[in-house]
């Protein structure tokens, strides 16, 4: 009974699936889905090497400090960093006094309540504060940015596929749409005249729909004057801030990798011991007798052949 019902249920599902296959197939041959500008012209993130990459990744403290400087002088005007606190900057190699100074001199103040009157006010940031948002709320942020919302950057390196590489590519990927060609040499505006970047948006082939609301943030070499004297090319600044954003999205990255290697070492030793215990316990259990030597079938066949050749019976 189960088999009969099952047979017809199976026949039903298979039938409808094949019907779907045929109808879809005919439809997609008759009306092939049009190629979109995103499919043809969107680029995967550039291949850039950061010190935090890979199983032996480490942060380069000097680079993180430079990246923080880029964030402070460029990104912080629009982008919040709401999951990071000032005191965490000590991880970047700043001492306590420096961190206190950074918090105290931060351009945006922290929302507060006047203890005298109870009215809303702002105060200077303390090291225990998280980085204050540049806008009071989402509406204010959109109002200031042509109705686009600058995303919080704390998690940006995790919230985008291939995170840090994406950030780097996006920052260095602004280009002139008129002259832009893809790898096949097609010109975007010749293939898709409708997708001309509208006013207020900026063409960037690394952005999912090719047009991003953010104006090019890093435009010229020397835009940030690095405290450590490193030459601030556009590429250098993009790389530094990408590294910094890897740190903000996972400040515990180095701990994770270090703990990983210790765990690997421990588990490897434990597993080798467990394997030896296992073989030792099973040594006399006659679990397996390998068919090698005179009883091996291939060997016996050959023996029989040789015997036949020499005319030995049996």
């Amino acid at each position: 009974m189960v088999r009969i019902i099952g047979f017809f249920v199976g026949l039903g599902f298979v039938g409808v699936l094949l019907l779907s296959l045929v109808i879809n197939g005919i439809d997609s041959i008759q009306n092939p889905p049009p190629a979109t500008a995103e499919e043809e012209f969107h680029l995967a993130p550039k291949d850039v090497t950061l010190p935090s990459d890979g199983a032996f990744g480490r942060f380069d403290r000097a680079q993180l400090q430079r990246g923080f400087q880029v964030y402070k002088e460029v990104c912080a005007a629009c982008h919040s960093l709401k999951y990071v606190s000032f005191y965490q900057l000590e991880d970047l190699g700043y001492n306590e006094a420096e961190v206190k100074a950074i918090a105290n001199q931060w351009a945006i103040e922290v929302p507060s309540v006047n203890p005298e009157t109870g009215e809303n006010t702002t105060r200077k940031a303390l090291i225990s504060d998280r980085f204050p948002s540049p806008y009071a709320n989402e509406t204010a942020a959109r109002a200031a940015n042509n109705n686009a919302l600058p995303p919080d950057l704390s998690l940006i390196a995790e919230a985008r596929g291939n995170g840090a590489h994406y950030v780097y590519s996006l920052l260095t990927g602004y280009t002139n749409q008129q002259a832009y060609k893809n790898a096949k040499g097609q010109e975007l505006l010749r293939e898709f005249p409708d997708v001309k970047t509208p006013a207020g948006l900026h063409f960037n082939p690394y952005f999912a729909n090719l047009n991003i609301a953010m104006p090019p943030p890093i435009t010229a070499a020397g835009q940030v004057t690095y405290a450590d004297g490193t030459k601030s090319t556009v590429d250098q600044m993009a790389k530094d801030v990408s590294s910094f954003l890897v740190w903000t999205s996972e400040p515990t990255l180095e701990n994770r990798l270090r703990a990983g290697w210790v765990t690997m070492l421990f588990l490897t030793v434990a597993t080798v011991l467990a394997y030896m215990a296992y073989r030792n316990i099973w040594a006399n259990a006659k679990r397996e007798v390998s068919m090698r030597g005179p009883l091996e079938p291939a060997f016996r066949e050959r023996m029989d052949e040789q015997k036949a050749e020499r005319g030995i019976a049996g």
Partner: protein, 439 residues
Amino acid sequence: MSFAWAKPYEPKNPFMKWVDERLPVPRLVYGAIGGGYPVPRNLNYFWNFGVLAGLALMIQIITGIVLAMHYYSYAGGAFDSVERIMRDVSAGWVLRYVHQNGASFFFAIVYIHIFRGLFYGSYKAPREMVWMLGVVIYLLMMATAFMGYVLPWGQMSYWGAQVITGFFSAIPLVGEPLRIFLLGGYAPDQAALTRFFSLHYLLPFVIAAVTILKIWALHIPGSSNPTGVDVKDEKDTLPFHPFYTAKDGFGIGVALIIFSIFIFFLPYSLGHPDNYIEANPLVTPAHIVPEWYFWPFYAILRSFTVDFIIPAKLWGVLAMFSAVLLLFFLTWLDRSPIRSTSYRPVYKIFFWILVADVMVLGYCGQAHITPLNVALGQVASAYYFLHFLIILPLVSKFEKPLPLPNSITESVLHGEDKESAPFGLATTGGATTAPAAAE
């Protein structure tokens, strides 16, 4: 417990004797996973995965309980609380990575365990109940994993909840009211998040309870084995402890190494980046995909694109649920008395096609919707149902199995104890190739 020669518990320590006389828990443990449980001596490494699944469940429960101490199921703060666990809670990141990747670890183990059962006929008499309890656990796991994925309240959490609860709206007449009742609103929100958290905490303990029933049911006939031949006498078995505890110790070590590679070096590789964006009901992600362990079923759901008598969505939902529920009926669908596929030359081919088919379905479940991917998903879904509902019953009727070994001992020792030739080579005496009567 299961066999006449199973050693009874004889406490040597006077304290254990005292306890055992008053509360025979030591006896229970000894009979379940100690020297008192005789296990076939020829088990291969695929038999490690039952214990590994139990380990994965324990890891999830323990890390989950601690995470719940720091998580709050408030729609306005759930995402923040997860980030607080990652950044501010001592070793919170390790707990969270273990729990997050632990779900994948659990499913990977269970999928290998299920395919082990399919290959070696673990669903056949007398272990039908063991298999069916396993399917119940699998269903509970799917529900638990889905609700757990909603808790961080990221974009994929939210839209995943939206899509999955949308299945209920495919049911005619009562569908939409039922969906609203289950969600506690028109869309996932506070009510849904709180109840998902509550159920996500409850269901693992239900899984643990069903696991106990499953182990109980398993101990009646005892473990199956790679030949599928029944245990005949004491020579066919070894006590679980120390033989299989030692082997499981090694298996656990290897499994934990693989698990740790994901936790410490690839913690994001199995997740979706969109889930690091806080849930936003106004922004639909470009590409909604479930976690990898649901991809094959998601592919089946998406493969029905034609309104044939009933709407395509209802076909998809019915097919998706049927794809899991048909596992309950395997015992009756497969009429072959031979358990191990090693002795079923025709079915073996279809088995490996099924494995490849499920992989293809997995690919289709996460792939972008293009005409080619959709067609591939439709063919693969069709094979899935064809395999279980049509091929399996027919093959088992017409197939001529290979000769089975006479006993487990013979297959392992090749009759060496009788100073005979390896299995299948002796022409006279004890070890013959005559097919054993298949029970």
